[in-house]
Symmetry: C2
Subunit: 101 residues, 2 copies
DNA sequence: AGCTCACTTGAACATCTGTTTAAATGAGAA
DNA sequence: TTCTCATTTAAACAGATGTTCAAGTGAGCT
């Protein structure tokens, strides 16, 4: 693990990133997107939430570059932004699966 | 990414785990511990916090099995609980370092 | 026993967070 | 243009969260 130029800013961003994943609604959304891109309505059905609530969560995920968007006609398709997001998810799952016997 | 037996419980634990890392004080503590075990007082100095605040944070990290303790005389030494914690940290750092040019 | 040191705990406080509801946007069809 | 559909946005609320301060624990020394 190497040193960094602006530790305070990096730790803040790092904490914000984990915080974005630190909500069971959002982590379910990210999990759903780890299988492929989805539009807001489909995410809402998959995680049993209102489109409005999903949209709010997607905004916080977008703000931290955890997801990205693509427009097709009237529909917005969301997907995970980079490989590290999947890595965080699998590493997290590996950790918690050791806790549940 | 495989399926799970009790999705709701697993997602909750997963979210709690990320939430525990989703605080700049705690992520600094975890970062400090990624270099080796430390006692409470030394952590407090490293992250410029009161021992009390550090102790509170260590409890939430302990509750989620992110850190573990070892006693030596009057001193408690904390360390990261398993390899996945380091993995989460490095994966998170890799992600945010791409965001800061 | 009494004393000190390293740490933990509890209560209080202001601040932040997720969800709901209702209204608004904006792209495309008619 | 007007209408519809997919999504976003704003305001509001209850519930959660981090930090501080003061008090409490309990191990080891004298």
């Amino acid at each position: 693990m190497k040193a960094k130029r602006n530790p305070a800013r990096l730790f803040n961003l790092l904490a914000e990133t984990f915080k974005a994943l630190g909500d069971s609604s959002r982590v379910q959304i990210v999990w759903a997107l780890s299988h492929g891109e989805l539009c807001v309505g489909d995410i809402a059905k998959l995680v049993s939430m209102s489109p409005s609530a999903v949209s709010h969560h997607l905004r916080t995920l977008r703000n931290l570059n955890l997801v990205s968007v693509r427009r097709e006609h009237r529909t917005l398709f969301y997907s995970l932004d980079d490989i590290h997001i999947n890595g965080l998810l699998t590493e997290g799952i590996d950790h918690v699966e050791e806790l549940i016997p």
